[in-house]
């Protein structure tokens, strides 16, 4: 209730130690971390007699050919698929989550039932089982029936080029869509819950203020509740999207040839298990970390 008071004169505030603090506990923890790393190196090099050979990796990333110049190897191809899954997955899962999140908080019982049924189903099945069930019984039946790839093949080369840029090679389009939809439907359930929590976090008084101004129920949700809800859920959403990118490796099981699929492939042909795993792991790390940085900026901008 007090109004902000300011210091009378321009005296500088007393100096205080800033947040960072390096004490004996940090030294102990750092030492423990070094011991663990040392153990890993010792175990691979000495005990397993593992001979590191990183040069094996590069031809799988990209190789140089006389006629074509640099050609993307399986790792880059897989990376492209993973990135496409990430971008479209985030978009699609957000759309599903927003629609279902609103349905979850709807006044109509039917909408609430549909949305909570969807969430309940997906939350209580292991992702692995969901992927197989969804793909074999649902998407792989529906998409070919719609004749997606035939239709695309009938389009003009220019349009096909755009489609390829957005979704990858037309030959693998159906396969990609199967994986994408599966991933989006799966993640969408969690986004639904996040959106619902966000919508419910906006105080009732905001809705009343909107209604008393004569805004329709829809406009109140659209212009008053939703923007505030979104602001509140940015951290949770960012978490979920990172989770989704990591989960995208699951669709390798239904032969979507993304990064994890390629990694498996290369491991079998080169037997360089550690190099491939570490390299691909680093790629996932970079993608996920960049995304979290992006969201951190968004959050920061939100707050100011």
């Amino acid at each position: 209730m007090m109004t902000q008071s300011r210091p009378e004169e321009g005296r500088a505030p007393p100096l205080r130690a800033r947040g960072a603090f390096f004490g004996w506990l940090d030294i102990v923890l750092l030492a423990a971390a070094l011991v663990v790393c040392g153990y890993f190196v010792w175990r691979t090099n000495v005990q397993l007699h593992y001979r590191w050979n990183w040069s094996v990796i590069w031809p799988w990333v990209a190789r140089f050919e006389d006629k074509e110049g640099f050609v993307a190897g399986p790792i880059l191809v897989g990376l492209a698929v993973t990135l496409r899954l990430a971008v479209w997955g985030i978009l699609l899962a957000t759309m599903i989550g927003v629609v279902m999140g609103f349905a979850r908080t709807s006044r109509r019982l039917f909408f609430r039932l549909v949305a909570s049924g969807y969430v309940m189903l997906i939350r209580n099945i292991p992702p692995l089982v969901f992927v197989f069930v969804f793909v074999f019984f649902i998407t792989s039946q529906v998409l070919p029936a719609l004749g997606v790839s035939e239709r695309v093949k009938a389009w003009s080369p220019a349009t096909q080029w755009v489609v390829e840029a957005l979704f990858g090679p037309v030959a693998r389009l159906e396969n990609f869509l199967v994986g994408l939809i599966c991933l989006a439907v799966f993640t969408g359930a969690y986004v639904t819950e996040i959106v619902r929590a966000g919508l419910q976090s906006v105080p009732r008084a905001q809705i009343e203020a909107g209604e008393s101004l004569g805004l329709s129920a829809f406009d109140v949700r659209r212009y008053v509740v939703f923007p505030q809800a979104l602001k509140n859920v940015v951290p949770a959403l960012s978490n979920q999207f990172i989770q989704m990118i990591k989960d995208s490796s699951l669709v390798s099981l239904v032969s979507v040839q993304e990064l994890a699929f390629m990694a498996q492939d290369i491991q079998t042909s080169t037997r360089r298990v550690f190099e491939v795993l570490l390299f691909v792991g680093a790629l996932y790390f970079i993608i996920c970390w960049s995304l979290s940085l992006l969201f951190a900026r968004l959050e920061h901008r939100n707050q100011s």
Partner: protein
């Protein structure tokens, strides 16, 4: 139309579960009249005025605003909300929108006013509540008194025929109460029909045409201010007035 009362509340009853919050409430507000409602906390003052724009639903009796009966009809509710503005104790500004956007949003969305006109009107009312210079700030950057004045401007932008105030100064620091009351006094003098739930008796004496005292969900006393302050009929009213006027 002009001879019908602006607001007619007749034998209204309301329950929250088993709790009887409004008991046979009658209240008639003529056009241009200013009514001040007071009474102890929990006596049902907020509930009563929130029934008038359907933030709460009454269970029995009738409420008629400018000839429109408040019932299940969504059209009636929408029509009444177009005529009734409301100012809340906690301001309830939209924190994600600037002051100007707070004033523009409902004009553009609910009234379909062209944006430029809506902005012009918003600036006009912000000037009237004496804070046009804050238009581009966010509510969180303003003091309580300034926020409440924005809330008043936001309501006025919809050009309501009636304004409801629910303890508009109760959440304010003492030094900001006056700036809000001054704006409300101006508004009263401009001829607006108003129902104010407030314990600011100085304001009540200055502007009220009718004083209403509520207790335990009932309208205990309803009389012109001169009579209300000088010779309250019920003991309960006298006790209450002694209490709040003693400090």
């Amino acid at each position: 139309m002009t001879d019908t009362p602006m607001i007619a509340v007749r034998s209204v009853n309301k329950w929250f579960g088993a709790f009887h919050v409004l008991k046979d409430v009658d209240l008639v507000v003529q056009r241009g009249q200013k009514v001040v409602v007071c009474g102890p906390s929990g006596s049902g003052k907020s509930t009563l005025i929130r029934c008038i724009n359907r933030l709460e639903e009454h269970d029995e009796g009738e409420i008629i605003v400018d000839g429109i009966r408040l019932d299940e009809s969504l059209e009636h509710i929408a029509a009444i909300r177009r005529e009734v503005g409301m100012v809340f104790q906690q301001f309830n500004l939209f924190p994600h929108l600037t002051v100007l956007e707070n004033c523009v949003l409902a004009q553009v969305r609910a009234r379909k006013t062209p944006r430029a006109d809506a902005e012009a009107r918003a600036m006009q009312y912000l000037a009237r509540v004496r804070i046009p210079e804050q238009a581009s700030k966010y509510p969180g950057q303003l003091s309580g008194g300034q926020q409440q004045r924005v809330a008043i401007a936001r309501s006025l932008c919809m050009e309501p025929k009636v304004m409801l105030f629910d303890e508009p100064t109760s959440a304010l620091d003492p030094e900001m109460i006056k700036e809000v009351l001054d704006v409300m006094t101006d508004l009263a003098q401009s001829g607006m029909t108003m129902i104010c739930v407030t314990h600011e008796m100085g304001f009540a004496r200055k502007v009220a045409d009718l004083m209403v005292f509520m207790d335990h969900g009932r309208v205990v006393e309803s009389s012109p201010p001169a009579e209300f302050f000088a010779a309250p009929r019920s003991d309960r009213t006298r006790q209450f007035l002694d209490q709040i006027l003693s400090h």
